[in-house]
Symmetry: D3
Subunit: 237 residues, 6 copies
Amino acid sequence: MRPGGRTAGQIRPITITRNFTCHAEGSVLIEVGNTKVLCNATVEEGVPRFMKGEGKGWVTAEYSMLPRATHTRSQREAARGKQGGRTMEIQRLIARALRAAVDLKMLGENTITVDCDVIQADGGTRTASITGACVAIADALAWMRKKGIINNNPMKCMIGAISVGVYKGEPVADLEYIEDSDAETDMNVVMTDTGKLIEVQGTAEGEPFSFEEMSQMLELAKQGLVEVFDAQKKALA
Amino acid sequence: MRPGGRTAGQIRPITITRNFTCHAEGSVLIEVGNTKVLCNATVEEGVPRFMKGEGKGWVTAEYSMLPRATHTRSQREAARGKQGGRTMEIQRLIARALRAAVDLKMLGENTITVDCDVIQADGGTRTASITGACVAIADALAWMRKKGIINNNPMKCMIGAISVGVYKGEPVADLEYIEDSDAETDMNVVMTDTGKLIEVQGTAEGEPFSFEEMSQMLELAKQGLVEVFDAQKKALA
Amino acid sequence: MRPGGRTAGQIRPITITRNFTCHAEGSVLIEVGNTKVLCNATVEEGVPRFMKGEGKGWVTAEYSMLPRATHTRSQREAARGKQGGRTMEIQRLIARALRAAVDLKMLGENTITVDCDVIQADGGTRTASITGACVAIADALAWMRKKGIINNNPMKCMIGAISVGVYKGEPVADLEYIEDSDAETDMNVVMTDTGKLIEVQGTAEGEPFSFEEMSQMLELAKQGLVEVFDAQKKALA
Amino acid sequence: MRPGGRTAGQIRPITITRNFTCHAEGSVLIEVGNTKVLCNATVEEGVPRFMKGEGKGWVTAEYSMLPRATHTRSQREAARGKQGGRTMEIQRLIARALRAAVDLKMLGENTITVDCDVIQADGGTRTASITGACVAIADALAWMRKKGIINNNPMKCMIGAISVGVYKGEPVADLEYIEDSDAETDMNVVMTDTGKLIEVQGTAEGEPFSFEEMSQMLELAKQGLVEVFDAQKKALA
Amino acid sequence: MRPGGRTAGQIRPITITRNFTCHAEGSVLIEVGNTKVLCNATVEEGVPRFMKGEGKGWVTAEYSMLPRATHTRSQREAARGKQGGRTMEIQRLIARALRAAVDLKMLGENTITVDCDVIQADGGTRTASITGACVAIADALAWMRKKGIINNNPMKCMIGAISVGVYKGEPVADLEYIEDSDAETDMNVVMTDTGKLIEVQGTAEGEPFSFEEMSQMLELAKQGLVEVFDAQKKALA
Amino acid sequence: MRPGGRTAGQIRPITITRNFTCHAEGSVLIEVGNTKVLCNATVEEGVPRFMKGEGKGWVTAEYSMLPRATHTRSQREAARGKQGGRTMEIQRLIARALRAAVDLKMLGENTITVDCDVIQADGGTRTASITGACVAIADALAWMRKKGIINNNPMKCMIGAISVGVYKGEPVADLEYIEDSDAETDMNVVMTDTGKLIEVQGTAEGEPFSFEEMSQMLELAKQGLVEVFDAQKKALA
């Protein structure tokens, strides 16, 4: 039995609120159970220096936890003077995933930056960020079309993400914090709504995992993502 | 006529939501018009090194704007590797103000840190932070009493803050962004609910201001703060 | 009785020495009692990036205490790798105040930077910095006219600053360190020599202060600043 | 045909030189084709603060590329003043992987730090680092036994790592730089010599990958790792 | 002919003012021609961590140029967030030199830090710093004896420093800025008043120098230092 | 008797391996006894901003110790977030020395950066770096001629470096670590193969040294450098 009473493959309810704040070109609050992430997409003219003149756009992301998003307060990274390794790792993952959803050539020399700020954490903040950020990008691209900055839709597909893992010897989907902190294996899966993989990151936190468990986790991820894509579609309808 | 159609002394509606997030000992979302600040109070055992052994507690604060709380995206301070001067100045102001509300001896050797994170900005983020943080501290102190960490209430008084200024030659209260960015003078006033001053910071952004205008602004602040204290009381009722 | 035997409104002797060092376009040592600040104004062509092409100049300031300007040695900020919050707050105050004294359009696209380095501290270093820096800017502007960089005088007025406070229940002017560290309220007032206010920063360090005390402190500041402007005029004569 | 003329599953020759430098408790130079990484294991008494008193040891790793390990010079991270996101991500991966190989309780309150410095890069530096670091740890543990610091062998298993990917539509093993920079998918697999998985990180750099390709890559990794474990065994014989 | 009309071996007038500021245990302003350096010695209980428990003291130094000590303004190191290589190199030299003058065992577990802040620069700031700092240390040690912290005098000898160089093909002593910036060779010599060498740093800025020139420069340094030691003795008399 | 059984003037065997890595334009591993430094020269178009448009090139160097090049592990400077004073001092020395060997005008507006990374340290790493870097530059210049970037050879002379010192009262050449850490005086001498001096840095670590010892050390350096230049010539033959 899982702590929250869910079955192995059952994921938590997902709520996606668009236009959560008023300034960003795309602003989405995603709630996955008690995990809440604000995903703000900003459109800016121009691209980073290393890409200038290639006629392509850029999509990037930044991730941060508010200091008290968690059970105990973590030091503010701005006060420490640097972003931690975990933050770096996560925002690189989010950015890579989002770039897979967008046709950078169709974007023109424009940059979309998605800020994923975790308001409240209960496991799965990086996957919630990706799922929410994809909706924020959809809104930002709609804004660009409305403003006449682009004429077509550079969105190649929707992408969603979910965490799966091995908890007390059993593969489970969408781990909440209490499970995550105690899981033998933790795996994040990013997929397109066309059923292809963007990123798979599986880590043995305790015991190594078998190829068999790897397959089971992938299968659970695939099933869970059906609901993730549904939640995105409902929000964008 | 002010941009939002308000009279000179009219302040924007204030909404204070307690328990906005679930982990902090005090968690308040304060909305003042379109300005929204999340104020999370954290209680931790111990005090900073320079105070150890004095038998007194400490109250401090950190302030940050989410990168897209504003019309255009500002660079994330954690990514830049340092907090800007404006952030430093504001969080020092908030912390000083809050310390005036708490009897540090009654707090014992414990620290309360209030994180004020601006979700959406439309002028007056530092004064909204102070008003909201004071409620978050009240909740954190109640939590401490409930846990038996303290027996009495170290809260000496409630404190509230408001911005006033001179806009198009006329003293006005509670400037929104469009007024603030164009005001001749900007003044932040922090007061106790017993009618005494904690902090007055008046700055001529354009033209210098007269002693007469100074008095008028203080008077407007005093009046506006009546509603601020009302909003706090209603929230804590 | 005040520690130094002064009356409530009596300020310390002020000495302003021009051309204290030989390289800066304006170089002023200001002594207010035992407080000694070296204010060096540098003229440079060009303006910060965010102002380019607007045809206006810029005035800014930096503030620092030598490590042993105080009773005990404070760590060198360059060695710590960042400027502290107090330094940031003070240099922002100085810079804002100085900009109020200069017509930036008449300055052309040039920048004046005033470095205020505290050689010896005994209270009131930020107000002494403002008073001294204003004289250094006057000299720098004279240098610019002599070099033909500008033809008119962009100085709109002289500005001076003074600290006032409530010490042992009584409003006093120009607090020295021993008073300042023990005062209930500390207030810095920046004024033009035409009697208008540039900045008012009052802080309750201990007890909150009344609106009555606020008025008394402003009045003391006004009186004390008469001597400050006299000292400036004498120095520039 | 692959650029180097290898078949899809063929990996590059691996050379592991022990005692490459004389000071470290374990010092290994691993060469995988043209990729050369120096892995130095250091044994130190004590553990990081957050682990003190738990009676367990710690294993960690740091990773760096010499500035000219690559085709063009990259800026030295020490000169830039911070480690980049890629470095952080990689050294976190290496450290997690190594911890899976060691029984931390048997290690006692001691720390092993493995420094993986890339002398020359031609793809697969992070997987080569893991494979080489595991041998360096084996030597460091032998040193600890010889010194009487520990009595048993905390090594639970050997671990090895390999990169696989999809290059020009075909799954291949052990990508060299020219393939890696052009691959559709890049996946790093860390495995125990008992056939279990420690970490799987697959990333679509260009096109998303199918579940079918995922399986094929895992299979190639498994095969390639046979030779990796052989090379380790030979080196340790 | 040298720019200032001096002969090859002639050094500039030296003025040493003790008790220049009031807080430091030793406070010396040294003027060598137009070069002015404030040397403040601070006595603190305790030693750096790596020396604890050895029963010995420590002497260290920090060096900084005020931003406008030079012809053009240099960026403040505290604002840049790090000390430059030149600063580091110089303060290491000063500290090493000063340690050679003090018997660290007789100092007990106390630390003397000398802050050398260049008020005005005209060549030879590092050598002036050493000469002035030695006097400041003498005063700080006297203060320690007076306070009963030590009973004897840990000063083993006085040390002084001078720059020499090859300017327009001719060895000269005590280069001022205009010579220094154009010299073929620049050499700093630190000596004890007992005629022994502490540090010799000769650098070919333009042309390499011969062993013959090396000897000539050392000879000039020895002669010039006679006057340096005289100035110290006069100041301390 | 010296610890390694060498005579006072006897230097350790020198091995210089060219093309040690494959990407750099010049790549040299220099071994002096147990000291091993990898010197990689990189050629890049352009010069630092402060030199643009002068038609001259630039030569610079960076120095670093791998964390475990020494008996105990030193913290990685990239992880600490800054380069230490020792590193700064050494890389400035190396860069200055190398610039003395190259005619910057003949180099055109190109930059050569030499990265000196110490793989294993046993005394004399900075002098080994200079000796090895000079060979790496020779190779880099040959590469430039081959590529047609330059037509002539900007190498004015070869430069080599050696450490000498006073150990147990006797002047000795080429100190290994065990001597260096215990020497009274340590001196680094950089010379051209035409017998002129580039840099002399002598430091009394313990007792001050006499002018007589200074001469003896210089003489030993001169003799030892004969072998250094031989090793360079042999390597480049």
